[in-house]
Symmetry: C2
Subunit: 190 residues, 2 copies
Amino acid sequence: MVRWEPGTRERLQAAAMDLYVSRGFERTTVAEIAQAVGLTERTFFRHFADKREVLFGGQELLEQAFVDGVAAAAPDASPLAMVESALSAAAGFFPAERRSHSRQRQTIIAANPALQERELLKMAALAAVVAAALRARGVPEASATLAAESGVTVFGVAFVKWLAEGEQRSFLDIEREVLGELVAMAAGAA
Amino acid sequence: MVRWEPGTRERLQAAAMDLYVSRGFERTTVAEIAQAVGLTERTFFRHFADKREVLFGGQELLEQAFVDGVAAAAPDASPLAMVESALSAAAGFFPAERRSHSRQRQTIIAANPALQERELLKMAALAAVVAAALRARGVPEASATLAAESGVTVFGVAFVKWLAEGEQRSFLDIEREVLGELVAMAAGAA
DNA sequence: GAAAGCGATGTCAGTGACTGACGTCAGTGA
DNA sequence: TCACTGACGTCAGTCACTGACATCGCTTTC
């Protein structure tokens, strides 16, 4: 008999999601989450920096996908083409099966400014690593920042659309549509 | 003799800035801030929702400037032209005299993820009201969101540039430059 | 001009997030 | 065998934030 069940982190995440859904984020206590999986509040904080972070696992993987996408773009690609490649790479993270889970998560976040703050921070971090990846490919500072920020904006807008009721298209298709709209908008003002 | 000194809110803001600079944000207590102006912790929380909010006064005024800017754009202006108008209107908030103060504030924020989160939330709120203003002028949903987000991105990038050491140009000039770069980047991919 | 009400503040007693120090104990390797 | 490690528990403490209630100059009302 093992001393501790494996997958502590994952069990805490699942319990937190459940409780955030049923009681709401603010009305659930870290002690309750820990208790739900037979652990202590102190142990929760050994796995997650804070009560919000438990909803934001996998950030590093998403960042890596974006970075890999930038690296995979054609040698002579424009900054925006590199971003497009990154968006394509990230689309793999959101297959149709994941929509239900993502929707539930997004509902929780939408109900709490504190969680929105954390999400915005994650998106900002994402933009920062994408900008760094672009700079590593020789894109000048200003363009890199703008392209990265725009890319993350497209990602965010596409994500919300993907979650919309009745939406049937793949995440990738929606990303492409939104990116096209952005380019069209900017082109109209050139 | 009056019972209370006037300008409580402003005095709290000033004391908070001072302490955040000298001791750092995390190492200063709300009780200390209140004490510094002869008040109680409880009173601090009657003026500010939390310890971070004290650094983010004047948000409504900035939002209003953006909204007014959108409204002031030419009747046949494109979404991006409306955003440009909004950026121009906002530039009035950042005359050269304010750079020193803004720089100090930005240094505090840059040192604390919790404060960055709050700033990002404020920028997201700004984007939301700009998007609403664009929609009110007939811009379709998707374009409004993208144009607003792009505008706020330009604003943020321009703000950082404006604060850079050795930068001499006006905030408005920098905004225009950054917006131009964004349009050029998007146009290059059209 | 006394009484009533208002508004900004103080006081006090919480709750809950988060931290540091230290103890526990099954498994692991020398 | 035994030292050591890693994941967890226990405990005490700090601090952000909240609700309920008291205080008391000032203003309004009759």
